[in-house]
């Protein structure tokens, strides 16, 4: 690789200084106007609103702990979905893969038998492998067969759920080792539920990977301009397979978390997980067209519907209003994002 052209030292420093100072100012302005900031404000507004209306009931450690525990599965899936949507793709199969992975894990645990950590560990590995396998299937079909992600993952949505139903006969697998439920499912470490810790670790690793590593950079590049990435020498196909594999892996992990919490495979309860994850990612500021988004935004996007549902139940609002409200917030948040983008374009264009 050649070095940059040699330029006299003084000119070098002068040339580098001015842009650097301006860059810092610009970076700050950018951070303040990002969509994540807006949706975080919306979330804070909602929390403040509920706290104002029902302080003793809503604003307790007990309640927040439950909100976090209930949202942990969705957060894990949504982290994977963030990567997928940033590549300008989509993964509709996550709910089904979650169920399938849970079924495989439960069956393995029952087959090994007993209450040992060995049985639980075997089930965990099996579940994660199953989830990753579906993800890789998605990735291969999308890149090699050149079928659009929407269609491919719609297909695997049906295939994964159908396979799970075939294996179980349509009946939830129950009888998972009790130890899994009592320790990880409902257990806590220093007051924080294990499932929340798992979700937090996944989120942290995901955020760091996306913003600070080459893997994350390639994800953004492919979503922004896949052809440019290809010409720059990035193996786009291999990267996409890894991204969809990651989404499947995390769906498998969410399946394990669900299994631990409920001790059954809850086959019927995950049919809208895919849309909830997509809504969370979009609410967090990720563009469906690719190239833009953050994991932190997704966290905000996951908690907005979770807090809304919790607050509405506390207030005694009719359940159907909750769905209306979540949909409305989604539209408002995306609308504000559009306004901001248009303003930014007008402002920065020279």
């Amino acid at each position: 690789m050649s070095e940059t052209r040699e330029v006299p030292a003084e000119a070098q420093d002068e040339g580098a200084e001015a842009p650097a100072r301006a860059g810092l100012r610009g970076a700050l302005r950018r951070r303040l106007t990002e969509t994540t900031t807006w949706t975080a404000l919306i979330l804070l507004g909602i929390v403040a609103g509920f706290a104002a209306l029902r302080f003793q009931q809503f604003a307790t450690v007990f309640n927040f702990r439950n909100i976090a525990a209930d949202a942990s599965g969705l957060l894990i899936i949504a982290v994977g979905m963030t990567f997928v949507i940033i590549t300008a793709g989509i993964d509709l199969s996550v709910g089904s893969v979650l169920v399938f992975s849970g079924v495989i894990a439960a069956k393995v645990m029952l087959a090994v038998g007993g209450e040992s950590w060995g049985a639980i560990g075997a089930g965990l590995v099996a579940g994660l492998v199953a989830g990753t396998a579906w993800g890789v299937v998605n990735g291969v079909l999308i890149t090699k067969a050149r079928v659009p992600p929407l269609i491919v993952t719609l297909g695997t949505l049906g295939m994964a759920l159908g396979s799970a139903l075939l294996i179980t006969g349509g009946i939830d697998v129950r009888g998972v080792p009790l130890r899994l439920t009592t320790t990880i499912g409902i257990g806590q470490l220093a007051g924080v539920p294990y499932v929340v810790l798992i979700a937090a670790v996944v989120t942290a690793v995901g955020a760091v990977t996306l913003s600070m590593t080459r893997f994350g950079r390639y994800t953004y590049a492919i979503g922004s301009n896949a052809e440019a990435a290809r010409r720059a020498g990035i193996n786009v196909d291999r990267h996409l397979i890894k991204v969809y594999g990651l989404s499947g892996f995390l769906a498998g992990m969410a399946g394990m978390v669900s299994l631990a919490r409920f001790a059954t495979t809850t086959i019927g309860g995950h049919s809208t997980d895919n849309l909830a994850a997509i809504a969370a990612v979009v609410l967090g500021g990720t563009s469906l067209f690719g190239g833009i988004g953050t994991v932190l935004g997704t966290v905000v996007g996951v908690f907005i519907p979770a807090v809304l549902q919790n607050g509405f139940v506390i207030l005694g609002v009719q359940p159907f209003w909750q769905q209306v409200a979540v949909g409305a917030v989604l539209i408002v948040a995306v609308y504000i994002d559009q306004l901001k983008r248009r303003a930014q374009e007008r402002g920065e264009r020279r």
Binding site: M1, S2, P19, M212, R217, A228, R231, I234, E348
Partner: protein
């Protein structure tokens, strides 16, 4: 005349029923600007894509530094020391200029972090700022998305990227198309500097005055094949245009 650095001999390429290249020859030598000109549909961009590894030829040979080679991928071209400024720029709009400059060649942190793939964004930004200073590109906010830059600034980023990484041959497909007067001047200065440092520059341009000003040699492509080659000093714009449009009899002038 020294040995050609990069040469195409009899390249053919068809897209469905359309024969884009019918035995195209081309040559460029180190330390010269060779302009590749031709009317619309002559096959210039196709030839550039083949020589830069983006497309595969149907037939013909490619010779580099006296050996026959194949250039199956853009990475293969890069490894030979060939860089390209594409007509569509091939930039990622949602990434900033530094990210685009280092696309596919990212700098990683030293040590363990580097092996895990952690980026050294500060170093990339510093090198990018220097490269821009080189080109006289004044970007107030180098952290902005490329999509939010003007067309001219975007083109400057693409040109700067190729100039930064090139070691042997650089293809520039319409490099000043979106640029204003001042910036065009900068790019032309850059092209001359690159040429003077021994690199072979292939200039594809519709801008005939610019071609006549910059090029050392001119090769004319028409209907997928070479019809003329001129030394810029020994020819006129009218002669070149005539060769492009087929008004004159094809003739080889060394």
């Amino acid at each position: 005349m020294s040995e050609p650095l990069l040469e195409s001999r009899g390249i053919t390429k068809s897209f469905g029923g359309v024969r884009a290249l019918r035995g195209a020859d081309f040559a460029v030598h180190p330390g010269e600007v060779a302009a590749l000109v031709g009317d619309n549909g002559a096959g210039k961009s196709t030839l550039v894509k083949i020589l830069s590894g983006t497309l595969a030829p149907d037939g013909g040979e490619i010779w580099f530094e006296g050996r026959q080679v194949t250039i199956p991928t853009p990475v293969a071209a890069r490894e030979l020391g060939i860089e390209t400024v594409y007509q569509d720029l091939a930039l990622a709009p949602e990434l900033d200029p530094a990210a685009n400059l280092f696309l596919g060649r990212e700098l990683v942190r030293p040590g363990l972090l580097g092996r895990l793939g952690f980026l050294d964004k500060a170093a990339m930004r510093r090198r990018t700022n220097r490269a821009f200073a080189d080109l006289g590109i004044g970007l107030q906010d180098t952290g902005a998305m490329v999509a939010n830059l003007s067309g001219g600034q975007r083109q400057s980023v693409a040109v700067s990227r190729a100039a930064t990484w090139v070691s042997k041959v650089v293809f520039m497909d319409e490099p000043t198309a979106a640029l204003g007067v001042v910036q065009s001047g900068h790019v032309r200065d850059l092209i001359r500097r690159v040429r003077d440092s021994g690199i072979a520059v292939v200039l594809i341009s519709h801008n005939m005055p610019e071609v006549m000003e910059l090029a050392d040699r001119i090769e004319v492509l028409r209907l997928g094949a070479r019809v003329a080659r001129y030394r810029a000093a020994d020819t006129t714009m009218e002669q070149v245009i005539a060769a492009m449009t087929g008004a004159l009899e094809p003739g080889e002038v060394a």
